[in-house]
């Protein structure tokens, strides 16, 4: 008898890790996601793709495996540069002509370095000759960071409000249900557009002029409703369970019951929904950045790469489109599969 009582229950997270390892698709997707996270960690501290904005190649430099391809655009750019020296003399009619000498002198004071531009880059170059591979890596960092942070904020809002509504019920629930109804009756994309409009041209426009936080806030404020609904339903189920009543009996406060006792028991629902949100938010971020409503212009994301790719495709420069698509598709596929495995591993009914 004593032997049976000695068995300590397996830690839930250890069990989750064990189950994920047994699931082959889950393990592979976990490895890919981990690889991406390692890559964006290196990119964030500057070891990788730090020079993505430097013009290292000729415009539209060919990918290394297509080195012999004619590059008309680069040749045209070279010719334009050479001809810049032979401007016909217009000083008789040019009102700015007297100032040219002074400007020349000032130009000479500035130090400029001529960089040798390479003809080919590992995965080609964009219109300025920036390395597309470096852009894709840096873009992964930005897009994934936006998705993850926005999902975390949305989860925070949704969990907090859902916990309050589900735990207290009555007027708290009625009020929060009203807020939920208001947010869900406005089509999401309109809410996103409206927030983008006011945050860009309003007084907060200066605050959010750089960095990813404007997109993160827009996504979080518009995307918390699903999480709220799920968490509320879970809390309604749990609040009158025996373990919660027992906690109340030994004097646990409402906050303690909500976040110390119930929260760990609903965390699997939150975790799965959180990873679904990451995928959804990355997709929206890509669209917003494509439309110019997302990350600022001095940053690169998968969306801004696709925005450039549209015109590049017409002149046959397909590599930037391919790079952004492949980086995004692999990550999102792996992350979606990981979410599926996570859901299977966390679902108590399937054990």
């Amino acid at each position: 008898m004593a032997a049976i009582l000695d068995i300590t229950p397996e830690n839930a997270w250890v069990a989750l890790g064990r189950r994920l390892q047994q699931d082959r698709a889950g393990a592979i997707s976990l490895a890919i996601v981990a690889l991406y996270l390692f890559m964006i960690l290196l990119a964030a501290v500057g070891y990788l793709a730090g020079g993505w904005s430097e013009e290292v190649g000729v415009p539209y430099a060919n990918p290394a495996f297509l080195g012999d391809r004619p590059n008309l655009e680069a040749a045209l750019a070279q010719r334009a540069k050479r001809q810049r020296g032979h401007v016909p003399d217009l000083s008789a009619v040019d009102p700015l002509a007297p100032k040219y000498g002074e400007w020349e002198k000032r130009t000479e004071q500035l130090k400029t370095t001529q960089r040798e531009r390479t003809l080919t880059l590992p995965w080609g170059g964009d219109q300025f000759g920036r390395d597309v591979l470096a852009k894709a890596i840096k873009g992964s960092q930005v897009s994934i960071a936006v998705g993850v942070f926005a999902a975390l904020f949305a989860t925070l809002i949704g969990t907090l409000l859902g916990a309050l509504a589900g735990f207290y019920g009555r007027w708290v629930s009625d009020f929060l249900e009203w807020v939920y109804n208001v947010f869900t009756s406005i089509p999401t994309i309109l809410l996103v557009f409206a927030l983008a409009a006011v945050l860009r041209s309003g007084p907060l426009g200066q605050v959010f002029a750089s960095g990813i936080w404007m997109v993160v806030i827009i996504l979080a404020v518009t995307g918390w409703t699903g999480m709220y609904r799920l968490v509320r339903a879970e809390y309604m189920k749990h609040r009158s369970r025996e373990y919660v009543l027992a906690a109340q009996a030994i004097g646990a406060s409402a906050a303690s019951r909500m976040f110390v006792h119930i929260l760990p028991n609903v965390s699997h629902v939150i975790l799965v929904q959180l990873s679904l949100l990451v995928v959804a938010f990355i997709k929206v971020e890509v669209i917003l950045s494509f439309l110019g409503l997302g990350v600022p212009i001095d940053m690169v994301s998968w969306g801004t790469m696709l925005a450039e790719a549209q015109t590049e495709l017409i002149i046959g420069k397909w590599w930037q489109l391919a790079a952004a698509t492949v980086f995004m598709a692999i990550f999102l596929t792996a992350f979606s599969m990981l979410t599926d495995s996570l859901r299977d591993a966390l679902d108590p009914k399937l054990r």
């Binding site: 009203w178 807020v179 109804n181 208001v182 947010f183 009756s185 406005i186 089509p187 994309i189 309109l190 809410l191 557009f193 409206a194 927030l195 983008a196 409009a197 006011v198 945050l199 860009r200 041209s201 309003g202 007084p203 907060l204 426009g205 997709k283 890509v286 669209i287 494509f290 439309l291 110019g292 409503l293 998968w302 969306g303 696709l306 790719a309 549209q310 495709l313 017409i314 489109l321 952004a324 698509t325 995004m328 598709a329 692999i330 990550f331 999102l332 596929t333 979606s336 599969m337």
Partner: protein, 312 residues
């Protein structure tokens, strides 16, 4: 039934009030000074004051809120700040173009996804099922943007099967010439998630006792699926279609932007870029109202499909 509809309409009042408050205060507190946006970079204080008075911005906030509420209920949002076009005219003239592409998309994706989902549900676990589901996951991971960019390039530019973009005055010409490419692209893209979802609806139904009974009395699997499972699975399918319905108004904004279709979504996007607040506010308010009515209509539809559902 009439009592139910009345009660639902009554319940819309607080929600609509919330929507109006939300839109008003978001623009009031975060939107900055409209007069400054309108006047531009170089404007004298007098110019700004004149604009402010003409927009009623010198009034206290509750008067402004009153004006805003009146605008919504009289369907008169005044003129666009940028084009001086009546906002209600913009809404009504852009709506047909949007519906011309979104309604065919909705009809096509539902009528294609149901048979495909039934097929894979029938072959569940077999190679066909697993291959199709893997394709669905991969297809869903590629951005909608990529499908549009590549589709427009390949079918419009390279192959020349469809016009690259454009829109005309004749409804039939639009539907036959300009709408097909965006419709086909959007249908292909939404097919993957829809199929995956409907497959799970069918599989959930097949676990029920009535399926076992039908099999016990000797019915073949295709018959069971068609005669018994399909009608029951239609309830969650319809729920999902009801969720998609509000999307027919602005859901196609990307297509409209890419293919230069003068629809609602593209108009909102243009308004955002111009900081044209009246247009954004009016569209948001009206589409919220439309969404509420669609949701009511969807709930009434359930009753037609499933007589067990009591509307209380």
């Amino acid at each position: 039934m009439a009592g139910y509809i009345l009660r639902r309409l009554w319940q819309m009042v607080p929600t609509l009030a919330g929507v109006i408050l939300l839109i008003f205060f978001v623009f009031k507190f975060f939107g900055g000074d409209p007069a400054q946006i309108l006047a531009g970079q170089v404007a004298s204080q007098e110019q700004i004051d004149v604009i402010r008075r003409s927009l009623g911005l010198d009034q206290p906030w509750y008067v402004q809120l009153g004006i805003f509420v009146r605008d919504i209920f009289t369907f008169d949002f005044g003129k666009s700040w940028m084009t001086r076009e009546q906002v209600s005219d913009i809404f009504l003239t852009r709506l047909p173009a949007t519906l011309t592409i979104t309604i065919p998309i909705l009809l096509l994706e539902v009528s294609l996804a149901i048979p495909i989902a039934m097929l894979v549900a029938y072959h569940r676990g077999a190679l066909l099922d697993r291959v199709l589901m893997a394709i669905c996951v991969a297809a869903m991971s590629i951005s909608f943007l990529v499908y549009i960019i590549v589709g427009q390039y390949v079918f419009g530019f390279e192959l020349g099967w469809f016009p690259v973009q454009g829109w005309g005055d004749s409804f039939w010409k639009n539907l036959v010439a300009y709408a097909p490419l965006p419709i086909i692209l959007a249908t292909l893209v939404s097919l993957a998630p829809q199929t995956r979802l409907y497959r799970s609806f069918f599989l959930d139904e097949t676990k029920n006792d009535y399926v076992r009974t039908a099999r016990a009395k000797g019915l073949s699997d295709p018959t069971i699926l068609r005669r018994h499972v399909l009608p029951n699975a239609m309830v969650p399918v319809l729920t999902n279609v009801a969720l998609l319905l509000p999307g027919v108004f602005v859901g196609s904004f990307l297509l409209e932007i890419f293919f230069s279709i003068p629809g609602l979504g593209r108009e909102v996007y243009i308004a955002v870029n111009r900081s044209d607040y009246p247009v954004i506010q009016a569209f948001t308010a009206y589409l919220a109202v439309i969404t509420m009515f669609i949701n009511l209509a969807a709930d009434l539809l359930y009753r037609l499909v499933d007589p067990r559902i009591q509307l209380l």
